[in-house]
Symmetry: C2
Subunit: 312 residues, 2 copies
């Protein structure tokens, strides 16, 4: 009887590592669960999850013996955690091991966008440096005012890096934090008003949906740059697109979107954005560490030991 | 009689500021000096310089009353300073005010190259994220070993920023520096052997020509990334191109080249480089501050006061 079911797309060498450790069944998509015979679903006590597809209570009910969903990724907004808790199912994620990479990409997108580096690269490659002259001046970034929306583990890593660029650090978070003199703001609009650059680092899910509203974007303004490495759902994407198209927002660096990977094609027409394909944690080292932590949670569960990184 | 001659290309609003302050003559290129009548050249005591064209002793001799060359830029490798000194001509540059911008671009090129951000952007824009799947994994940068070649004012700013990325800092410099535990290496090859990323921040000119030799590039190796924000002349460009083409060097981020702006077109065919059009200090804020410092040196000279930033 299969005790572990791996749902989603598991690239090598992580598929092999799962196979070696747990001999799981593999399923590409949770939507295929219902088509499995009841006897194949019974007895599955743990799921290794690597998909952005929704896992709701109905999906959980198809696995009557389920006790653990071990998610790959720090974000687990695709899982209905309340439904899991109600069914006595524990959920784990893979926090911390990806903080550095995500913070690196956030800072990189801010620098790239502020210094117009993609446009400058194109300027050379189009022969304009030689034929037309120097690339137009852009703006100084060091010493600017950076606002971190969500000063959790990733937000903190971003702030620490930006402090190295002599930036003034502002933040809004659910709770006031111990910081080296950074300024806490009461809400996202007040934060956006106070800064040049707003970096979104909150959790995804219903509680933060649309947190970066049209009002926040307006407060950031035509010189402001918005960086999002959290989830597409956190930003009012319609308002963002309108503001970028109208020049009411200076620019954006986005690693996450609504409807990934088929994002709104209007993004591709914008001259004032840096776009990345949700690759913030996508390094060999970090994806390996995330997969290891997912397997460690599975192994702890199967051995009856405490879970390493439970979320409920 | 014209006391001040402005040689080179001065964009607005700096041309106007020069005009308002000094009513200089304007000359696009030092090569045009010889064609000027002797009486127009006599009496010129100060030159405001904004060109990468060579200013040698012969050019100086065309201005028999010259006492000051106020250069725009921290680098002054186009000026034969020894020839100037021999003629009693002082040279000034515009240091420090550009350190932040240059360091920002150096770090940004390292992040962009290491995280393959231009390729990831193209991946999305070509529709491959939706049609093919996630962008291939790249590499973790935070926590890596960074080598700074030349720990002067700009090198120090780069190191301080990279320390915020938890990098281990190594350096080679003409003199050992007071650092927070960074590792000093005896020569560039030893430095390159010790690190993942080598950032070139030495002065240009004859003394550093070819300092980043084929041997240094080999020591950096197929996983190494070379960043150059100094001068193209510091790197053996033929060796660099060969190593990048053969994959014997992992990648490069280059803001400076030999033969700017008509750089070797082989660079444009490489998949493993980030290229920028010598724009490290090219922000509105910093170019304004550099022009102000150039004018302040001119004003100090004309008022008989000490020069602010003399180099000889």
């Amino acid at each position: 009887m299969t005790k572990v079911l791996a749902i989603g797309t598991f690239p090598e060498p992580q598929r092999t590592a799962l196979q070696d450790g747990f001999a799981p069944g593999f399923l590409k998509h949770p939507g295929a669960l219902a088509a499995r015979p009841a006897e194949a679903r019974a007895g599955v006590s743990a799921v290794a999850l690597r998909t952005i597809a929704r896992i709701d209570g109905a999906a959980m009910d198809l696995l009557p013996d389920l006790k653990l969903i071990a998610n790959f990724g720090v974000g687990y907004d695709q899982i209905d955690v309340a439904a899991a808790t109600a069914r006595g199912i524990k959920v784990t994620n893979t926090p911390d091991v990806l903080n550095d990479d995500v913070a690196d990409l956030a800072v990189a997108m801010l620098l790239m966008q502020g210094r117009q580096m993609e446009a400058a690269s194109a300027w050379m490659r189009d022969g304009k440096w030689a034929s037309t002259g120097p690339f137009p001046l852009n703006r100084k970034l060091s010493g600017g005012r950076a606002g971190i929306l969500g000063l959790g583990r990733i937000g903190r890593e971003i702030a620490d890096r930006l402090a190295g660029f002599k930036m003034e650090i502002h933040y809004h978070s659910r709770t006031r934090k111990q910081t080296p003199g950074w300024t806490c703001h009461a809400d996202p609009v007040a934060l956006a008003e106070a800064v040049d650059f707003l970096i979104v680092a909150v959790v995804g899910g219903a509680e933060t949906e649309g947190l970066v509203s049209a009002e926040v974007i307006a407060a950031l303004g035509p010189r402001g740059i918005l960086i999002n490495i959290a989830r597409g759902s956190v930003v009012d994407e319609a308002a963002l697109l309108e503001a970028l198209e109208a020049g009411r927002l200076g620019g954006a660096g986005l690693d996450v979107f609504c409807n990934e990977p088929k994002i709104d094609p209007r993004f591709y027409a914008l001259p004032n954005v840096v776009l990345q394909p949700h690759q913030a944690s996508a390094t060999v080292e970090t994806r390996g560490a995330m997969a290891q932590l997912q397997r460690d949670n599975l192994a702890a569960f199967l051995a009856g030991k405490p879970l390493l990184t439970p979320v409920n």
